[in-house]
């Protein structure tokens, strides 16, 4: 760009750089410095990068877009928790766990996920009261494991097998079994059938 409406050359005293003549706006002057080289290279590099990017992703399509990325991610983990879904709600031979470590782990899961419907003491609000002597899906330990695993979504109990491991389910079921008869405050009215 040629800037030549200057007649006499004026210099900035501090930097000894050329001032543009005719460029004076309410006392503000402008210097005739060229663009900083590093800035020009930054600009050129980013534009080259941009062009290459579009060619790689959208013209030659040699890099994966998000849909392929997702496919690759899922393929790499071979199903993840999906594999858990293949796990049948097999309760044969299950025995309620009584070790403190299992109950503590179960309680931790309970506090993270279950209390949003059954409340902290298991007294029930959205979900049924788990401390009384009634149950919708059966009172036994195996029944509890079953309902946590497969759920009853149309009644609001989701299946947890995609979010909890088998061991976590067994632990939390064991903890739930200990809630029976604890008489927390403000219990929800009984639902389901009396336990035998």
């Amino acid at each position: 760009m040629e800037i030549n409406d200057n007649k006499s050359i004026e210099m900035d005293e501090l930097t000894n750089e050329k001032l543009l003549s005719g460029h004076e706006y309410d006392g503000i002057r402008e210097l005739d410095n060229r663009l900083p080289r590093w800035w020009v290279w930054l600009f050129i590099t980013s534009i080259v990068w941009a062009v290459v990017y579009v060619f790689v992703y959208d013209v030659f399509k040699v890099a994966p877009h998000q849909q392929e990325e997702y496919k690759n991610e899922m393929a790499a983990i071979g199903g993840g928790s999906q594999a858990q879904q293949a796990m049948a709600a097999d309760t044969a031979g299950l025995v309620q766990l009584t070790a403190q470590a299992n109950l503590d782990a179960g309680k931790a899961t309970w506090n993270r996920l279950c209390i949003a419907c059954h409340l902290a003491g298991g007294q029930g609000l959205v979900g049924p009261n788990l401390t009384d002597n009634f149950s919708i899906h059966g009172c036994g330990y195996k029944d509890i494991v079953n309902i946590i695993t497969v759920g009853q979504p149309d009644k609001g109990m989701i299946s947890w097998k995609a979010q909890l491991t088998r061991d976590q389910i067994l632990d939390v079921a064991s903890f739930v079994a200990t809630l029976s008869g604890t008489n927390p405050p403000n219990p929800k009215a009984p639902q389901g059938d009396p336990c035998k």
Binding site: L31, W39, Q163
Partner: protein, 716 residues
């Protein structure tokens, strides 16, 4: 040549300066309240008008359009007159600009508190106020252009280039994004839906940042920084190159708000590459500003005005580097929907806009009051408290963002999400939120100190309303051999037209194909229009600002589909006027909430209890109570008109459906009431909560209906 004497209008500058300080304090205090609500949800006070979802738009709009907006007008009204050697074109237009803008701000605050919102970020204003904004903006442009036309200087200085770009682009953005069909005075539906609405909105949203928060402030920098430093601008050529590159390229970058979303890949790619290529044009302003200070750094040590400017320009440089980085897929994959975005926005707002505004006020108020700043040491204190405030604000949010996305994405060895409950990832952030509130609080302390200092300055001064100046009239002289750009600088109308063309290209190339090429939004056969009850429920969802905390956009990552369900498809949003994808998750994504076999599903009674008192179900929850939804009656008088507007917008309701829509609505409501009754909840079908539950239970259903078998098989 004979000198003409004329008078600068300082009164209008004074008005805008006062309004800047007034709204600044209010906007920031509302921000602090929001920050505290994220720690203590009870600070929503249990009433609709002060809940997070309603006052968040008050904060953002107050800071952007009231504080920064008035600051921008202050700076422009002062500098434009001096750069044109002319009084403002019309005192009446100046007054209309001022009072109209303040009226808009008041109307905005009241209407947001009352839940009147379009539900699109930074464009929440309902249509009557939108029209007022457009009119006042045109008044501003008219007044500015009138002044430019009758100027006594031959060429337009770079600051004015930025002012012109600001005017023309904001006008286009605001009008295009706000096109809507009114239901009544207080409610309208945007004409765009889903993906298209998202693209138009973020084309607007991103460029509101560009042309309301960036270009006018670069203009201010180009005037006030060389003035305060008494140094010449480093490079005129850099001004030219970075100005045109900036306005041409900025407009393309909007899609970077929608990376890993249902937006077509090609549009995402354009957003990414233009964002990265914007680093140099953005930095051009910073470089030209900082290099202008060569030889004046000793003054920076002394003068609080220059200190504020240096930090402002540096914050601008940081922000305009961080933004492009956040636009890359690698960073965006983890930063999006977290507090990183909020931290990034505040480096810009508090650092760049806030500090530049204070610098302008500290520089200009003593001048128009013909006095010295009351206390330099108080201004220095303001500077340091504000700077520390910004650091305390941003660092905890970055830390919190890293914490949260790590938790979102962490899997156990068995292949399960380590933190399947979203709430766990929020509870972890509370200490960071406290530190952030402290940072914001410090910034406000600084602002109040500045306010006090300026009040005392004004009190001790002697206001000069009409400042005499003189300059010879503009006469046409020969400009032989001048460069093309130099010619453009003498001809404001061609300048405006070239600027207009520069900003139109990007928008047109990105937006038009999304309408014309059908394959950009593949339809999904199972996606059906909302029922009347769901539509009413959705409007309440919009009214309450649920999108300020909940996204409706599952991203194509294992960590997202494991948590929420199927990732978002463009075709599922085709009936969403407006789209509600959100940009920050203070709570979980809701777009799969209604999938009965899904991972997020909750029964009707859960939603009922949760809206009444979220903490009853999750003691740690930071969601405010929405108990009024349980008592307030749903206004169904609007249903027929809403259905007709939807039909007009292309939603395939059957002919004449508007006449039976309310019957359909009541039937569906009764079903939900019956279900709640089984759970021991007594209510009636005409309550707002019923419509909200209906809407939440619809979310994601249609997409998952497409492949039922892929879900978890129910027991029976």
């Amino acid at each position: 040549m004979e000198n003409q004497t004329f008078y600068y209008d300082n009164k209008i500058v004074k008005y805008f300066a006062y309004a800047t300080l007034f709204w600044g304090v209010i906007g920031m205090v509302v921000g602090l309240l929001l920050a505290l609500q994220l720690i203590w949800p009870d600070l929503s006070f249990g009433i609709p008008y002060t809940t997070f979802g309603r006052i968040r738009p008050i904060h953002t709009n107050a800071v952007i359009f009231a504080f920064v907006g008035n600051g921008m007008f202050t700076g422009i009204y002062y500098s434009l007159q001096r750069l044109c050697k002319a009084r403002m074109f019309s005192d009446i237009l100046s007054q209309i600009n001022f009072w109209g803008w303040q009226l808009i701000i008041v109307l905005a605050a009241v209407s947001f508190a009352c839940g009147m919102t379009v539900g699109k970020e930074y464009a929440e204003l309902e249509w009557p106020i939108d029209i007022l904004v457009a009119l006042i903006w045109v008044v501003f442009g008219w007044n500015m252009f009138g002044t430019i036309i009758k100027r006594r200087t031959s060429h337009l200085y770079v600051a004015i280039w930025f002012y012109i770009a600001t005017f023309v682009t904001i006008a286009i953005l605001h009008i295009t994004n706000s096109i809507a069909i009114p239901v009544n005075l207080f409610k309208s539906y945007p004409v765009y839906a889903g993906v298209q609405d998202a693209l138009v909105q973020w084309w607007y949203g991103h460029n509101a940042v560009a042309f309301f928060l960036t270009t006018p402030f670069l203009g201010l920098m180009y005037y006030y920084l060389p003035k305060a430093a008494n140094r010449p601008i480093y490079s005129y050529r850099l001004s030219i190159v970075h100005f045109w590159a900036l306005i041409f390229m900025y407009i393309w970058a909007g899609p970077h708000h929608l990376i890993y979303s249902a937006l077509p890949n090609w549009a995402q790619s354009l957003g990414i590459v233009f964002s990265v290529a914007l680093i140099a044009p953005s930095w051009g302003g910073m470089v030209n500003g900082l290099l202008t200070l060569r030889g004046a750094w000793d003054k920076v040590r002394e003068d609080p005005v220059l200190k504020f400017m240096v930090v402002a320009v540096t914050a601008y440089g940081m922000s305009t580097f961080e933004g492009p980085m956040m636009s890359t897929k690698t960073v965006n994959a983890i930063s999006h929907f977290t507090d990183w975005t909020v931290g990034h926005a505040h480096i810009g707002a508090l650092g760049w806009n806030g500090f530049m505004t204070f610098a302008v006020l500290y520089w200009l108020l003593p001048r128009i009051f013909r006095t010295k700043l009351y206390s330099t040491s108080m201004a220095n204190a303001h500077f340091w408290i504000g700077t520390i405030g910004i650091i305390f604000y941003a660092v905890p949010l970055y830390w919190g963002a890293i914490t949260q996305f790590s938790m979102w994405k962490e899997f156990t060895q068995e292949g399960f999400l380590k933190y399947p409950n979203f709430l766990e990832t929020v509870t972890q952030l509370k200490p960071m939120y406290m530190a952030r509130a402290l940072g914001g609080g410090l910034y406000i302390v600084g602002t109040v100190l500045g306010l006090y200092n300026l009040i005392l300055t004004v009190k001790g001064g002697n206001f000069l309303a009409e400042e005499a100046a003189s300059a010879p009239a503009l006469v046409s002289t020969s400009h032989t051999g001048e460069s093309k750009h130099r010619w453009l600088e003498r001809n404001p109308v061609p300048f405006l037209i070239v600027a207009l063309l520069a900003v139109l290209v990007g928008g047109l190339i990105e937006i038009v194909p999304l309408y014309l090429i059908k394959s950009n939004v593949p339809t999904i056969a199972s996606v059906k229009p909302y029922t009347p009850l769901e539509l009413q429920g959705r409007d309440i969802y919009v009214r309450e600002g649920c999108y300020t905390c909940h996204s409706q956009q599952v991203r194509p990552f294992r960590s997202e589909t494991e948590r929420y369900g199927e990732y978002a498809k463009a075709g599922e949003y085709v009936y969403d006027h407006p789209f509600q994808w959100g940009s920050k998750r203070n709570g979980p994504d809701l777009s799969r909430e209604g999938v009965v076999n899904g991972k997020q599903y909750k029964p009707n009674s859960w939603h009922y209890n949760h809206m009444e008192n979220p903490q009853k179900l999750n003691a740690q929850s930071i969601m405010p109570s929405y108990k009024w939804l349980l008592g307030d009656k749903l206004d169904i008088s609007t249903t027929p008109r809403k259905i007709r507007i939807m039909q007009y917008l292309g939603v395939p309701y059957p002919e004449g459906f508007d006449k039976v829509a309310n019957q359909d609505l009541m039937n569906q409501a009764q079903g939900i009431v019956d279900d709640l009754k089984i759970q021991g909840i007594q209510t009636t079908p005409d309550r707002e909560i019923i419509a909200v539950i209906a809407y939440l239970q619809r979310l994601g259903k249609d997409v998952h209906a497409a492949d039922q078998t892929a879900g978890i098989a129910p027991l029976k």
